[in-house]
């Protein structure tokens, strides 16, 4: 790549102007074809912004489900604080931007023929393919756990029926029951998610079933926003006292789960056997299935150029969102959204043999610890193309102060809810 960025600017501007008017003096450059596999926050953002940046481009998004259910804020549904329907988004917004949406399942990607094959028998041509399938579970890491076992011991780590299942189990549980939450090893989708879930389940139990307990079996000794979560557990749920609603078993204390028995509701960890009335197993994770099928994965995740999210294994194919290795950015909805725009601009540049922009990205992620109690982690990242690294900008970022005022915590809850509305609109609207 030896074209200058200025050259890219000029051609992009020319191409988009032409695209908007009539087409296509610039041969294939004027109307590149993109296929996006997966309609979660990553895929939806990429599809929308490809059309915004280059209205002349052909963008096809292939997604199996007619609606998407966001993982973000699904912990509020599990805790009984939010209506499930607010998690659901459709694809009409993307269609209005000119994205062709196909509801089908991608079964294979041929990088040489540049085609995507679907279960429905379709074959779709692309100049560049964007693969954004999210995560899948390493069921075999926990003996006895499986998709079937998850109908008894839900993971609820892909939102949808699993979310409502876990919610209904909590509602059906007697006061004095035990809830087990198994938290996965790194890396995984939404690093603070298990701990927010523990807060919101505890908040529900405190109000409705105060004699109940939550046992957290963790495959880690440290976790995201740990001092802030621990503080919330202490403030609201008696953590650290004899009356604590929450018991956290770290990896060092044998918290790693090795097996389950859905018939007896027993969970085996290194520390021993635990019995729960409600068991939420969040299993170890790796990239979504199609990323494996398409040969994009190494060591469980898809390595990419972190400036354009093009696969380092299969040229011409990009991997976006939770499936990719985008460290040091966490696997979050905000990260996927920010990266989706870098991908859109980068893939567009590459499709036209131009130099992609150097991205400056951000992540912001809110967690809810209790009533009127929110906190966040945020960071800004610059891309270092020599090291292929997304590095936090020095002096920026960090978590909410541990000594923040109650008013500050209250505001972060408001911001969390506004972020939720705005990111839904930015990705799918």
């Amino acid at each position: 790549m030896n074209t200058t960025r200025r050259g890219f600017l000029r051609t992009t501007a020319a191409a988009t102007v032409v695209g908007a008017v009539g087409l296509p003096h610039i041969a294939r450059a004027a109307a590149p074809r993109f296929v996006v596999v997966g309609g979660g926050p990553a895929g939806a953002t990429a599809a929308k912004y490809l059309k915004r940046y280059a209205p002349g481009a052909t963008v096809t998004l292939i997604e199996a489900n007619p609606t998407y259910t966001t993982c973000f804020m699904s912990n509020e549904v599990i805790g009984g604080d939010r209506d499930f329907a607010t998690l659901q988004v459709g694809y009409e917004g993307l269609e209005a931007h000119g994205v062709t949406v196909m509801h089908d399942l991608v079964t294979g990607i041929d990088p040489d023929a540049k085609t995507v094959a679907t279960q429905g028998g379709e074959s779709v041509q692309f100049d560049r393919c964007i693969v954004a399938p999210g995560i899948d579970f390493k069921y075999d890491a926990i003996e006895g756990y499986s998709a079937e076992a998850a109908e008894v011991m839900p993971h609820a780590w892909k939102a949808g029926p699993q979310t409502t299942l876990l919610r209904s189990q909590l509602e059906a549980m007697e006061d004095g029951g035990t809830v087990i939450v198994a938290a996965p090893p790194n890396p995984f989708r939404c690093p603070p998610g298990p701990y927010e879930r523990i807060c919101l389940i505890a908040n529900y139990l405190k109000q409705h079933k105060p004699k109940s307990k939550i046992i957290v079996l963790d495959a880690k000794d440290k976790f995201s926003k740990m001092p802030l979560f621990t503080q919330a557990w202490e403030m609201f749920y008696g953590y650290g006292t004899d009356n604590s609603m929450i018991e956290w078993v770290s990896k060092a204390d044998g918290g790693t789960v090795t097996g389950v028995n859905p018939e007896t509701m027993e969970v085996t960890a290194v520390a021993g056997s635990f019995k729960g009335d409600v068991v939420n197993i969040i299993p170890p994770q790796h990239a979504g299935t199609i990323a494996h099928t398409a040969g994009l994965v190494e060591d469980g995740w898809a390595p990419v150029n972190k400036g354009t999210f093009e696969s380092l294994v299969v040229p011409g194919v990009h991997v976006l969102g939770d499936s990719s290795v985008a460290a040091s950015m966490p696997k979050s909805g905000s990260s996927a959204n920010s990266q989706g725009k870098a991908l859109a601009a980068g893939a567009l540049a590459l499709a036209m043999d131009q130099e992609p922009p150097v991205p400056h990205l951000a992540n912001a992620c809110y967690s809810i610890g209790g009533p009127e109690h929110g906190f966040s982690v945020a960071a800004v990242y610059s891309y270092d193309d020599f090291e292929n690294a997304l590095k936090p900008v020095e002096g920026s970022g960090g978590v909410s102060p541990i000594d923040a005022s109650p008013e500050s915590r209250r505001r972060e809850l408001f911001y969390a809810h506004s972020w939720f509305e705005n990111i839904k609109a930015d990705a799918w609207g």
Binding site: F8, V17, K341, A345, H360, A378, S396, S418
Partner: protein, 206 residues
């Protein structure tokens, strides 16, 4: 609200102008895409602030349509925490002076949209409008749509404006002398309810 020290930033304004001149050579800005680097950078703002900087949530402000120096002033006061924030200080410190200027131009060129805010108390609007005429309109001109060195109030998000007023009243955020006088008079004459009426009115302006 959003008062700044007037005339403070001629240098920044000059830089912004210079920057525009440099960044828009022959290619002129396509309607569809500005400088891709700036587009991608601005894309990191919009998962919180909404597409093009116009959100729908109640607490996060729309950031479009501001004069560049006002946008730059807000970011700089977030950077040094003189404008208290929950998350914006941590984020603003991730951008250089020239990056902030690029963002100021980018969002400054976008229209300020005013989607419905269903949480507005409509019974307060008429009285709020009268109070605003008396206490606010001299700086927040044209029903709060513009004004020199002030933020846009017309159609701004209600909960965001409440947080801002609280910060001014508590002293967490500094007020210009004239603003401080107006705030004091309004509080003495009409109390918290006066502020609430005014904010509901401004939020309702289309």
């Amino acid at each position: 609200m959003g008062t700044r020290h007037k005339g403070l930033r001629p240098l920044a304004a000059a830089l912004v102008l210079g920057c525009v001149a440099m960044a828009t050579p022959a290619l002129a800005q396509s309607d569809d895409m500005a400088d891709p680097t700036v587009e991608v950078m601005a894309g990191a703002c919009t998962f919180c602030h909404g597409t093009d900087g116009n959100g729908i949530g109640a607490a996060i402000p729309s950031i479009t349509g501001l004069p560049s120096d006002q946008f730059i002033y807000m970011m700089e006061t977030y950077q040094d925490d003189s404008n208290p924030s929950t998350v914006m200080g941590r984020i603003a410190r991730g951008y250089s002076e020239s990056q902030i200027e690029d963002l100021a131009v980018y969002f400054g060129d976008k229209p300020f949209e005013r989607p419905a805010q269903p949480w507005i108390d409509e019974t307060m609007i008429a009285e709020g409008k009268e109070l605003a005429a008396e206490y606010c309109e001299s700086c927040h001109e044209n029903e709060g749509r513009d004004g020199e060195g002030v933020g846009i109030l017309a159609g701004q998000k209600l909960q965001y404006m409440r947080f801002s007023v609280d910060d001014f009243l508590s002293g967490a955020r500094e007020m210009e002398r004239r603003q401080a006088r107006k705030f004091r008079d309004l509080m003495e004459d009409h109390g918290d309810e006066g502020f609430e009426k005014i904010l509901n009115y401004y939020a309702s302006v289309k």
